[in-house]
Symmetry: C2
Subunit: 433 residues, 2 copies
């Protein structure tokens, strides 16, 4: 079922017209009501009136997480605190947390967005949703909660933890929809099997997962174990919470509620806006938000966007799943590369250890990239011919992953330094990068 056919199936022309109108409104609103925008736009001599086409948005400066932190706690609010009815916040594990404020209207918007997504996942008022996302300052739990209310489904707000009870409730309450992070879902599945839960005959028919990076392999594993399709839900506290993008039954990208969010993809180095189907950093703008309108927020999440009409009939833009963080991105010979891609290629090859290093240099004004990989003990003492075979295989897998031929060097087992904290995967000796 399509929750809001009028919006979700609007022609691209109409949706872009609507977006432009909303963009112009919110820019004026933000400029008039938030010092941050007022001062920044003034200092750059750019004004809401200068935005006459959607493309004009590129004239506007970005908003970064660090800037939001500077305005902690309520400096980005556009309304009298009296109008704010709910506050959420990021965890603030590094530095000051980012605070997000919602008016009554914003909570209604959030409910609408999630209601659309739950409908994509096949959820109706007959469903029983077991919401294992944490409630609290984290936005995960509440977004789904409000959306479930809107759809009229039954929500079990169990939150994370009490894992054995989760399984008891899946069984006793006849849960039809599970919401979890991929890692918690996999943990629950394991525990459930241990407890003798019968997934084959369970009432679970749909899964929503998010709030963590994931791979297609993880999704397949979740779907296999729960015996139900699993749909990705994307969002972030700064912009609203979960619901910015949600997958439909085709599982080919996350539909963005484009009357609420204007998505762009930029090259995180040049900051230039990219065309359709090109990977880069996702930038998001709230097109409708009273409490805390955010303009051109750099999510640091790597994705790409297509505007092609989906097989499900919806015309809204779709984003691919997040495949990395722009902080991790390497640009080599003009190509964006993520360590995760190298890792993925290496996982397909036998006889090597899961330790590698990416070394980027620029010896003759030209980028060079080398990947050092530890051979297994067996391979290392094997014939040289076998080592050459493995090396070639790795080069091929990496090329098919990143579209670039790199030099692979097999090194002695345990020769790549181990670090206690985050492994140093990348050594980039170029002056500029």
């Amino acid at each position: 079922m399509i929750w809001n056919e009028e919006i979700e199936c609007m022609s691209r022309e109409d949706i872009e017209e609507l977006q432009l109108k909303k963009l112009q409104n919110i820019l004026k609103y933000a400029y008039d009501n938030v010092d941050y925008y007022h001062n920044k736009y003034d200092s750059m001599n750019i004004y809401p009136e200068d935005i006459q086409t959607l493309k004009d948005i590129e004239k506007l400066p970005f908003t970064t997480k660090d800037e939001l932190r500077e305005y902690y706690p309520f400096g980005m609010f556009a309304v009298d605190p009296k109008k704010i009815i709910e506050v959420h916040s990021s965890s603030g594990t590094t530095g000051k947390p980012v605070v997000s404020g919602y008016t009554q209207k914003d909570i209604e918007s959030w409910s609408e967005i999630i209601a659309r997504g739950l409908s994509m996942m096949g959820v109706t008022d007959e469903d029983i949703i077991q919401n294992t996302h944490g409630y609290g300052l984290f936005t995960g739990g509440f977004g789904i909660h409000y959306g479930a209310h809107k759809v009229g489904a039954t929500v079990i707000p169990i939150s994370t933890g009490q894992s054995r009870r989760q399984i008891e409730i899946m069984e006793d309450f006849g849960t039809t929809v599970m919401i979890f992070t991929p890692s918690y879902g996999l943990y629950l599945a394991e525990l459930a099997i241990e407890e003798g839960f019968d997934f084959k005959n369970s009432s679970i028919k749909s899964i929503g997962f998010g709030a963590e990076m994931w791979t297609n392999e993880m999704r397949k594993e979740i779907e296999k174990r729960f015996n139900a399709p699993a749909y990705n839900i994307y969002g972030l506290t700064e912009l609203m919470g979960p619901g910015v993008g949600i997958e439909c039954s085709t599982q080919e990208g996350l539909h963005i509620s484009e009357d609420y969010f204007y998505p762009e993809i930029i090259d995180p180095e040049t900051l230039k806006t990219q065309g359709e189907n090109t990977k880069g950093e996702l930038v998001l703008t709230n097109l409708e938000r009273e409490g805390m309108p955010i303009i051109r927020f750099r999510t640091k999440d790597i994705s790409s966007i297509t505007k092609e009409t989906c097989q499900c009939g919806r015309t809204t833009s779709r984003m691919t799943r997040i495949t990395g963080r722009s902080d991790d991105m390497l640009k080599v010979k003009g190509v964006a590369i993520f360590p995760s891609q190298i890792e993925k290629a290496l996982l397909k090859v036998n006889n090597i250890e899961p330790h590698y290093q990416i070394i980027v240099t620029r010896p003759h004004l030209m980028d060079e990239i080398e990947v050092k990989v530890e051979a297994s003990k067996e391979l290392f003492f094997d014939e040289i011919k076998e080592m050459m075979n493995v090396k070639k295989k790795i080069e091929e897998y990496i090329e098919s992953e990143i579209g670039l031929r790199v030099k692979v060097t097999l090194v002695e087992p345990k020769s790549i330094p181990r670090s206690k904290g985050k492994a140093v995967r990348v050594i980039d000796t170029r002056d500029i990068h």
Copy 2:
């Protein structure tokens, strides 16, 4: 401010007329839609039509927690599961948990009830409520959350835990209203002082506390530390959640939302309904509830009720704070006695140890009660005269607490057996009790 003056200040006559009408409706509704009531009433040959006055409610059987457990999970629901939008549950630490189901209308009722209570506490749309009650299956967090939305205040749904962060947020967000359990509040206060939080100049102006037993001493301690008045919030999952009764600024009993709940006080032994201002077990009936109407629920909580108009202007019945559980009640010479009362009296006396035992016997067809108390080492080796003085003092304090003269025996230090689990405070050797 009085949130709903029409209801909260209605004349007793009108409110009782309204209650009767609502009672008759919900009885018919429960009988028609819930097998439990239908079968039970049929078997007792009592029917909704037999209830022609409020007093007629006494003809109806009680509903107990054990019965609700038998109908786990959804057997007490009065509507098609489609209409249920949220489910909560008790912890189920002993036996099967009790499940509570809410329709959209029930959530609205809950919001209204809490909005009235928050208004009693002086909360308006200008306030910032830090809700440290747990969200999840527990009803504590959500009740306050919905009520805060209704009032238009800002709710910070931080939930329990992250205690240092709680204090940071009290400071940074300018929290004006704290919601906590008394024990968590006292813990937070201690930690806050450790962290240098300045309660004297803090923005906190009102506190709502509940979900635990408490004493007046605890309240005073909380008020002193937080430098703000603290109001009790009472409720239970079976009936709805927090909000059944909430204290107004006079702090003289908890106002019951009598258009939603019909309260009775019964003698937990004879099960007879008690008059005003008589202590006994609180029995509650939902007067308006779609999802799961509960009729004459034995709360096991000990309270008493007054219908006198409150100094705040509200006319709704008020219940006293819960002073015990009917399971702990002793009936001696026709008087209800709680171990907590004895304990309270003992706390006022010096030179004794906090170890005691209540011994009830019936040697000559008449109840006798003796309280054994350990003397301190010093007292035990003191003159007999001093011991007699202390003994007399304890007897007086106990009499003023329970209204009955009991025999007190001072015993040697460490002579009362220590138990590892719950202390055996009462030894009752009567045949019937």
